[in-house]
Amino acid sequence: MPKFVELWVYLSATPLFGLTATLAVYVVAQAAYSRLSQAPWANPVLWTVLVLAGGLLASGVPYPTYFAGAQFIHFLLGPAVVALAWPLWQRRAELRQRWGKLLIAALMGGLAASASALLLALVFGLPLEVILSLAPKSVTAPVAMGIAEKIGGIPALAAVFAVITGMVGALAGKYLFDALRIPTTYEGWAARGFALGTAAHGIGAARALQVNADAGAYAALALSLQVVLASLLMPILLPLFIRLF
């Protein structure tokens, strides 16, 4: 038994542990998700995060030790943001044709998500740094962290909010769109995907991509648009908002 404990202490402290645990749990969660015919509640990110966070807390492995390994996966977020140019390029003809409408939809959706979060957080009396970390939550996590840092929020908290936002979008999107009677035609899938990419960034886009290819392409498009719009507008608009209250 003491041998096992020693081995565990050694293994859990190497970067190998965080990386292996993340990939292994995710692969199992992904398999379960396809087994359950991609039910929204079986979202693989949600379950991977819950299992890993629960496991770390239960075993007493501190987060920085875990992150020492998981950072290799985390690092890929940067190249992934650069890679978003690809779906934009692929849809450039459509984008050129409909850019006005798409831009308005992206602006309205982004503003609505951010403004409603700020107002609700104010009403609920949350602390200011929490409110500021909530503002960029519709933007993909690495960019949300950058924006939060610029506007005076807590980057790590902003990233967590962004991830939860993505999971909420991926979980609730289908039911909301059905309730709103957004059709499942090409145009309907485009609207569904675009909304998921706008309000629920990469995790919403991943969900859209699994459900329908057109929805996925529009989600990726919306996600990249939101990244540009939010990093351009938020540092300007937020100080105005704060002065208002």
Binding site: V45, K101, S116, A156
Partner: protein, 135 residues
Amino acid sequence: MHALRGLAWLLVFQSAGELLGRGLGLPFPGPVVGMLLMLLALRFEVVREPVGTCADFLLSHLSLLFVPVGVGVMTHLSLVSQFGFRMLTVIVLSTLVGLAVTALCLHGFNRSGDRAKKEFKEGVIEGANDKAKNA
């Protein structure tokens, strides 16, 4: 090899974005500048082919990349236990608002645009279909 060359291009553009963004004091994070530069560079086949392969792979596993940050929720347990319910309510409601506004906005545009296009292009047949659907 293709995917590896694609990753190399992505990293080169991310670095260029980081340099340009910080150097000029742009409001965008480095990877976003890199994405905009990449968008310009994709017209060249040397860049496009490998980047396409790598981007497809990376973006199809995008949700995995959020896991390490998501697990970070465990470091904010005191905030979570104090404000958890309120924060979750804010996130859920505002996400639903954002989704609904975007989808309805675009769906509204589609419908008004569609109607004009269909009436113009296909006339009677499409119109009859639409009516049948609405009925």
